[in-house]
C-alpha cells in the first residue's frame, strides 16, 4: 500500500524546462564554488591579496558566494514562474 501525499499536486507542464535551467544554474554555481576550494587548497597565498574595497580575496570570494546564491535564486524563480505561466497558457489554448 502506498501512502497518500499530504496534498494532491496538479499537472505541471513546465517541468523539463525548469529542470534544465536548474541544472545549468547548479553547474555555474558549482564551478564558482570549486574555484574557492581550488584556490584555498593549492594557491592559499592568493587569498590574502586585496582585490576589492581593500578587502582580501578570501573575504570577497566568501561573501560573494553567499550573495550570488541569493541573486541566482531570485533569477531562477523569475524564469521558472515565466515558464509555468507560458506552459499553462498554452495548455488553456
Amino acid at each position: 500500500m502506498h501512502q497518500q501525499p499530504a496534498v494532491e499536486l496538479g499537472r505541471d507542464l513546465s517541468i523539463p524546462k525548469k529542470t534544465k535551467l536548474g541544472v545549468i544554474f547548479f553547474l555555474i554555481y558549482l564551478a564558482i564554488y570549486a574555484g574557492l576550494v581550488v584556490i584555498g587548497t593549492l594557491f592559499t597565498s592568493a587569498l590574502e591579496v586585496r582585490v576589492f574595497a581593500n578587502l582580501n580575496l578570501a573575504v570577497v570570494y566568501g561573501m560573494g558566494l553567499i550573495i550570488l546564491a541569493a541573486i541566482m535564486g531570485l533569477f531562477y524563480n523569475h524564469f521558472c514562474t515565466k515558464y509555468e505561466k507560458q506552459m499553462h497558457s498554452k495548455e488553456k489554448v
Binding site: 501525499p5 499530504a6 541544472v23 547548479f26 561573501m63 553567499i66 535564486g73
Partner: protein, 636 residues
C-alpha cells in the same frame, strides 16, 4: 565557572520557554492525523515555511558553533558559513521541486515512490536515524553550553532540560507546532544577530575592550642557561618550570597564589607573559589561575594588540562601517589564546597562553585547517572533504527534506527555498562580524568556543545577553524538534508502517511516531552529555558528511539517471552510511573522545566526505547496471 547568573536572564528565559510550550499546546489540536503530525497537513504558506527553513537550519551549529569557530580560528569558521549556504543552491536548483512531486511524508517515501522496495524503506529509515542522531548531538551539546552561564546549571542539566522540553513538544504536537516554533525563532535569531553586529560596528576596535577587562602582565626574566632564575618583580618567586613541545612554561608564586606564565626567550630581553591556567591536583578542588572557582579569577579574554589606521597606531577606532571594520581588522594584531596540557608533579595542568596573530592571517583560511604552515596532503584533503560535504549535505538532510512536504505545491517549495536562502545568507554574513567581534571583545571563555556569540552579547548588556541566550535556546528547541520529527517518522512511518507492514490506524501511526520521538530524544540526551567538549559546528559537519554520503547519491541519481534501480539506491545508502560512519569512528577526533592518542588514528582525516560521497555514487551506478542487466536477462 567564569559566569555570573543574572535574575533578568532567568526571567526572560522562562518566558521564552513557556511561550514555546504554549504554542505547542495550541497547535497540538491540529495534529490528530498522520498528515498533520508529519507534514502539517501540507498547508503551510511558502513565506512561513521559508523562515521556518531558516529556523530549522540555523541550529546551534550556526549560531553557537560558527561564531565560536570564527572567534577562535578566524576565517576557517566562516568557511562553514559559505559551505552551509552553498548547499542550499543544490537544494533549490536540483532537489526542491522534484522531491516535492515525489514525496509524501518523509524522504524515504520520495526515494521509494517509483519502486515500492522494502530494501529502500529499510536503508532510508536507518540513514535518516543515523543522520538525525548525529545532528542531534551538537544541538544537545549547545544546549548544555548555554544553560551554564544563563541559569548556572551544569552542562548535563542543560542537555536533559532541552531534551525533555523537545520530547514534550514533538510528542504532543508534531510538525505544525515545530514549524511555527522554527518560524518565530528563525526570525528572532536574524533580527537579534543584526542588533549584535550593529553594536559591534558601533563599538569599533579597541585595545581595551571594556573597563574591567583584565590587563595581562609581562615580567622581564633572568635566564641561567635554559632555566629561569629570576624575574623583574621581586614580589614573585619561581615555583617550577616545564618544557612542552618546544614551549617553556614557568610557575610563579605571589602571596600564596600560584600562576603559570609563558617564557618568550626570542625577545631581546627574555620575558614571561601571564597565562590562564586550570590545575587539577591529585586531591582537592580544581584551581583556576591558582584560586578556587568561586574567586572568579579565570578571566574572559580576547583583545586587539595593535590597531593600525592609515599607517598609524591608535588605541581605538571609534564606530566603523561594515567594510571598514573588516579592512581595519586585516591590519590589526589580535591576541588569541592557544592551549597546552601537561603533567607537573601530581598536578594536571592546562595552560592557555597568549598567541598574537596578525589580522591578515586571521582573515584567510589556515588557522584551523592547515593549508600553508604545517600543511600535508592529508590536511589539504581534509579541507576539500569538508567543503564537499557542506556543499552536498544540506539537500540530503532528512529534517530539511521533510519541510518540502509541509507546503501545498512545487512552486511553494521553490519559493520557500529562496526565502530560506536570502534569510540564511544574511545571517551567515553576520556570523563573520559576530565571530570576529567576540575574538576582540574580551568575552571568550577559553574552555569552550560554543558560547562566544552569547558572551559577546553580554558585553553589550545583560538584557541583550538574556534575549540572545533565550533565542539560542529556542534555536536548539526548534532544530531538535525538526530532527526528532524526522527521526520518529523514519521509525514509525518508514520502518514500522512501510517496511514491517504493521497494520495501524491513523491514530496508531501518530502514537507510534510519538513513542519513537521519546526514544530518540533519550538517546540524544545521553550522547549530548558524552560529547560535551566538542565544537558543535565540527559535529554538525560530520552529520552533513553522513547525509551527503548516504542520501544524496540516491536522491540525485533517482531524479536524473533513468537506469537507477531499487537495489542501486539501497546499496548506495548502505555503503554511504557505513563508510562515512566508519571513517568518522576511526578519525583522530573520535580517538581523542575514546581517550586514545589522536596520532594513532588509522585514518588521519576528520571529514569523511571525500571518500564516502564518491563511493556512494559509484556503488549506485555499479549496482544499478548489474541489477538492470540481470533483470533484462531474466526477462529474455
Amino acid at each position: 565557572m567564569i559566569y555570573q547568573v543574572s535574575p533578568i536572564a532567568i526571567v526572560i528565559f522562562i518566558i521564552f520557554v513557556l511561550s514555546v510550550l504554549g504554542l505547542s499546546f495550541y497547535f497540538a489540536r491540529k495534529a490528530k492525523s498522520a498528515s498533520g503530525y508529519y507534514a502539517a497537513g501540507g498547508q503551510i504558506h511558502w513565506g512561513v515555511n521559508g523562515i521556518a527553513f531558516a529556523g530549522d537550519y540555523l541550529s546551534a551549529a550556526s549560531f553557537l558553533g560558527i561564531a565560536g569557530m570564527i572567534a577562535f580560528y578566524g576565517y576557517d569558521g566562516f568557511l562553514y558559513s559559505i559551505g552551509y549556504l552553498a548547499g542550499w543552491v543544490v537544494a533549490l536548483f536540483l532537489v526542491a521541486e522534484p522531491l516535492r512531486r515525489l514525496g509524501k511524508y518523509t524522504f524515504a517515501d520520495a526515494l521509494d515512490a517509483k519502486f515500492n522496495s522494502s530494501a529502500i524503506k529499510l536503508t532510508a529509515a536507518i540513514s535518516t536515524l543515523v543522520v538525525s542522531i548525529f545532528y542531534l548531538i551538537p544541538q544537545m551539546v549547545g544546549a548544555g553550553a548555554l544553560v551554564t552561564p544563563l541559569l548556572g546549571f551544569p552542562h548535563w542539566v542543560g542537555v536533559i532540560l532541552v531534551g525533555s522540553i523537545v520530547i514534550f513538544i514533538v510528542s504532543t504536537a508534531g510538525m505544525t507546532s515545530t514549524t511555527y516554533v522554527q518560524f518565530i525563532k528563525g526570525g528572532l535569531l536574524i533580527i537579534f544577530s543584526l542588533v549584535i553586529v550593529v553594536s559591534v560596528l558601533n563599538r569599533g576596535i579597541k585595545l581595551n575592550p571594556y573597563e574591567n577587562y583584565h590587563s595581562f602582565l609581562s615580567l622581564n626574566a633572568v635566564l641561567a642557561g635554559e632555566k629561569v632564575s629570576g624575574v623583574s618583580d621581586p614580589s614573585y618567586s619561581i615555583a617550577g618550570q616545564q618544557n612542552v613541545a618546544g614551549l617553556t612554561f614557568v610557575k610563579l608564586e605571589k602571596s600564596g597564589v600560584q600562576s603559570w606564565w609563558k617564557l618568550k626567550a626570542s625577545a631581546e630581553t627574555p620575558i614571561l607573559e601571564e597565562a590562564l591556567s586550570i590545575v587539577t591536583p591529585k586531591e582537592g578542588p580544581k584551581l583556576y589561575n591558582g584560586e578556587p572557582q568561586q574567586a572568579a579569577k579565570f578571566y574572559q579574554v580576547g583583545h586587539a594588540k595593535k590597531i593600525v589606521i592609515d599607517g598609524r597606531e591608535v588605541e581605538e577606532t571609534g564606530p566603523l562601517g561594515p567594510l571598514e571594520y573588516l579592512r581595519t581588522l586585516e591590519d590589526t594584531e589580535i591576541t588569541r589564546f592557544a592551549q597546552k596540557a601537561f603533567q607537573f608533579g601530581d598536578d594536571k595542568v592546562m595552560v592557555f597562553y597568549q598567541n598574537v596573530t596578525s589580522g591578515r592571517e586571521i582573515m584567510q583560511p589556515g588557522l584551523y585547517y592547515k593549508l600553508k604552515k604545517g600543511a600535508t596532503p592529508w590536511t589539504r584533503l581534509d579541507f576539500i572533504s569538508l567543503m564537499l560535504a557542506l556543499f552536498l549535505g544540506t539537500s540530503a538532510l532528512p529534517h530539511i527534506l521533510i519541510r518540502y512536504y509541509t507546503v501545498p505545491s512545487q512552486k511553494a517549495a521553490r519559493k520557500s527555498t529562496i526565502v530560506a536562502i536570502v534569510a540564511i545568507g544574511a545571517f551567515y554574513i553576520l556570523t563573520l562580524y559576530m565571530g570576529t567581534g567576540a575574538m576582540i571583545g574580551g568575552c571568550l571563555d577559553v574552555q569552550s568556543s560554543n558560547m562566544s556569540a552569547p558572551l559577546l552579547a553580554k558585553t553589550f548588556g545583560t538584557t541583550l545577553f538574556s534575549i540572545v541566550s533565550a533565542i539560542a535556546f529556542a534555536t536548539i528547541l526548534g532544530t531538535v524538534s525538526g530532527l526528532i520529527v524526522a527521526a520518529s517518522g523514519a521509525v514509525a512511518h518508514d520502518f514500522m508502517d512501510k517496511f514491517l507492514k504493521i497494520d495501524m490506524s491513523d491514530h496508531a501511526k501518530v502514537k507510534a511516531g510519538r513513542i519513537a520521538a521519546v526514544v530518540v530524544g533519550i538517546i540524544a540526551i545521553i550522547l549530548g552529555i558524552l560529547f560535551k567538549n566538542q565544537n558543535v559546528n565540527f559535529l554538525v559537519g560530520l552529520a552533513f558528511a553522513i547525509a551527503a554520503s548516504a542520501n544524496l547519491p540516491a536522491i540525485l541519481m533517482l531524479l536524473f539517471w533513468k537506469k537507477t534501480t531499487s537495489a542501486g539506491i539501497s546499496w548506495a545508502i548502505a555503503v554511504g552510511t557505513l563508510t562515512s560512519l566508519g571513517i568518522i569512528l576511526l578519525s583522530p577526533t573520535l580517538y581523542e573522545i575514546y581517550g586514545l592518542n589522536p596520532l594513532d588514528a588509522p585514518i588521519p582525516l576528520q571529514n569523511p566526505g571525500i571518500f564516502s560521497i564518491p563511493l556512494g555514487f559509484i556503488t549506485l551506478v555499479v549496482v544499478s547496471l548489474l541489477t538492470r542487466n540481470r533483470r533484462a536477462s531474466q526477462a529474455a
